[in-house]
């Protein structure tokens, strides 16, 4: 079973590479190089902070677009091209297919994030004219960004399992936005007088991913590292949330008729 999942994952990764998804790295490098050269003129001696803010924010934004647009196409394209029929004629379970596709995109995102992280580190070396402590300090924040992307990919896959690509992209983007407002939702729930409204906002809070847990770009730019408990809890939350969303995706996908 694991072999089949890994084969599908490897195939999904190769497909993403063939689809030139990693070309975004070229844009990222160009952006970062431009920023490293020109920001010195504009930032009043704050190049290091701005390179980190800019680099990691761009990494998140590029990653979100890849997670959404590639994520929703993972399954949809197979159905559209009817290749899914050929896959399911072989001894491949629908769950294995979904998990394999998901892991393939996660691998693509990991490569993306690692190369971008290396790019930001190099830009820091350039603006600091040497090895800067921030070069290492930013990496936990980079992994938190990756965890956030992993969650969003799962959400994109879930929506694409029952909806059209355009609607899936829109819904996933909404989840990204609301996910960053989660703490406000919780605050709203506790401040409301009505028990029903409180329950409703609490339900939304727990239903949607709390992506603000993964926002560590600004503290990282000031040389802060997330504590081990925060990092570990964020990883655990991501793993559990992804497991739940993938399970829901598999359940929906199993109900679809491909015969």
């Amino acid at each position: 079973m694991l072999g089949r999942v890994l084969a599908i994952a490897g195939n999904a990764f190769r497909e993403a590479v063939r689809d030139r998804v990693l070309y975004n790295l070229v844009f990222f490098v160009l952006l970062l190089t431009g920023a490293a050269i020109f920001i010195g003129e504009l930032s009043g001696g704050q190049e290091r902070k701005i390179i980190v803010d800019f680099g990691l924010s761009a990494m998140l934004l590029f990653g979100v677009f890849i997670a959404i647009f590639v994520g929703i196409g993972l399954v949809y394209k197979e159905i559209e091209r009817r290749t899914v029929y050929a896959i399911f004629s072989k001894p491949v379970g629908r769950g294995e297919f979904v998990v394999g596709k998901y892991l393939g995109l996660c691998l693509t995102l990991l490569v993306n994030v690692l190369v971008m992280g290396a790019g930001v580190s190099l830009a820091l070396v350039y603006v600091s004219r040497g090895l800067d402590p921030l070069v290492w300090i930013i990496w936990p924040a980079i992994f938190l960004i990756y965890f956030e992307l992993v969650i969003l990919t799962a959400v994109a896959l879930l929506f694409s399992s029952f909806s059209s690509p355009a609607l899936s992209a829109l819904l996933t983007f909404f989840v990204f936005i609301i996910g960053h407002f989660s703490s406000d939702l919780k605050g709203l729930a506790t401040s409301l007088g009505s028990a029903v409204a409180r329950m409703f906002f609490n339900a939304i809070y727990y239903l949607l991913p709390n992506l603000s847990n993964y926002s560590f770009v600004t503290p990282a730019a000031h040389g802060h590292v997330p504590g081990v408990p925060h990092f570990a809890a964020s990883l655990l939350y991501a793993l559990l949330y992804v497991a739940v969303v993938l399970a829901a995706t598999i359940l929906i996908f199993r109900r679809r008729n491909f015969k």
């Binding site: 009043g44 001696g45 803010d53 924010s57």
Partner: protein, 303 residues
């Protein structure tokens, strides 16, 4: 035949592309040159969103948005200085009507409360424009970063500039209690009480600012203020020498060359027989009042 037809069809869109591109660039330039100047009231319109609203809306990109507001504030100040077309010091911008500076610095520090440079700007640039906002933003920074002694240094500087030496001394003293604060912070309280308006204290304050400022413009402002203090000392010495010359000869010298031996004896920097200020520009001798003054071409500020 088919291939020729295709080529024939291709040159038309290619020509449209080239001519169109040149055309729209020319039209864009025409529009730019005829665009009516934006009224000052519109340019100075208040920011639509508060820092807290922006923080919520920034979706985790709050650091980047703070950087954006910070760079906007720098451009705003730089643009105003350039449009004034004169040599204006960063701490003397009151006549430039910079209503948006305080809101921009406020937004930047609300989005990223640990961002120290906007606080430095709030302490150095803002007091001349809006003292109460400068104090409020600095105090907001202290509340958000209680372990940053530099913010107390900024607060002390604001009060010192306004001549409120007691509050300045208190601010330095509070900052001195923070772990890692340098020993001179504690000494500042006593110095503020004893010699609040003295040149020596000013020299120390600007010297510390020069050493610690990351922003090249703030650093340059501190450097110019240090040169100004040095020039004040030099002018004081030259005035004494003019008095000596007047007593000896019975009149004011007609040129610096006449009192060159005195200037040399005082070890003042001299070029072409006359004393020069720390920027390298010769001092002006006012023969009618028998006084020394900065030359109009000097980069040392008068005030």
């Amino acid at each position: 035949m088919i291939s020729n037809k295709r080529h024939g069809a291709n040159w038309i869109p290619a020509s449209v592309l080239m001519i169109g591109a040149v055309g729209y660039v020319l039209v864009a330039r025409l529009l730019d040159s005829h665009r009516p100047k934006i009224q000052t009231e519109i340019q100075q319109e208040s920011l639509y969103l508060s820092g807290n609203a922006l923080k919520r809306m920034s979706l985790g990109f709050n650091g980047l948005v703070a950087d954006w507001y910070w760079m906007r504030a720098l451009q705003y100040v730089g643009g105003k200085i350039l449009s004034a077309q004169g040599s204006i010091q960063l701490d003397e911008l009151s006549q430039l009507d910079m209503k948006l500076l305080a809101p921009m610095l406020d937004v930047a520090t609300t989005l990223d409360p640990e961002f120290m440079e906007p606080y430095l700007y709030a302490a150095v640039v803002l007091p001349a424009i809006d003292e109460s906002q400068a104090i409020r933003i600095t105090r907001k920074g202290i509340a958000a970063n209680p372990s940053q002694w530099r913010l107390y240094q900024h607060l002390g500087y604001i009060y010192w500039q306004r001549g409120n030496y007691a509050s300045a001394g208190e601010a330095y003293s509070e900052g001195a209690k923070i772990a890692g604060a340098p020993a001179w912070m504690q000494a500042m309280k006593a110095r503020m009480a004893a010699e609040g308006g003295s040149r020596d204290l000013a020299r120390e304050i600007y010297g510390r600012m020069y050493e610690e400022a990351g922003d090249p413009k703030v650093k340059d402002m501190a450097r110019v203020r240090l040169l100004q203090l040095q020039s004040m000392d030099q002018r004081e010495v030259i005035r004494k020498l003019l008095e000596i010359y007047k007593t000896k000869v019975g009149r004011c010298p007609g040129s610096w060359q006449e009192m060159a031996p005195l200037l040399r004896a005082a070890r003042l920097p001299i070029a072409d027989g006359g004393p020069i200020d720390p920027s390298g520009t010769p001092y002006k001798l006012a023969t009618n009042t028998c006084d020394v003054d900065l030359a109009p071409t000097s980069t040392i500020p008068q005030r």
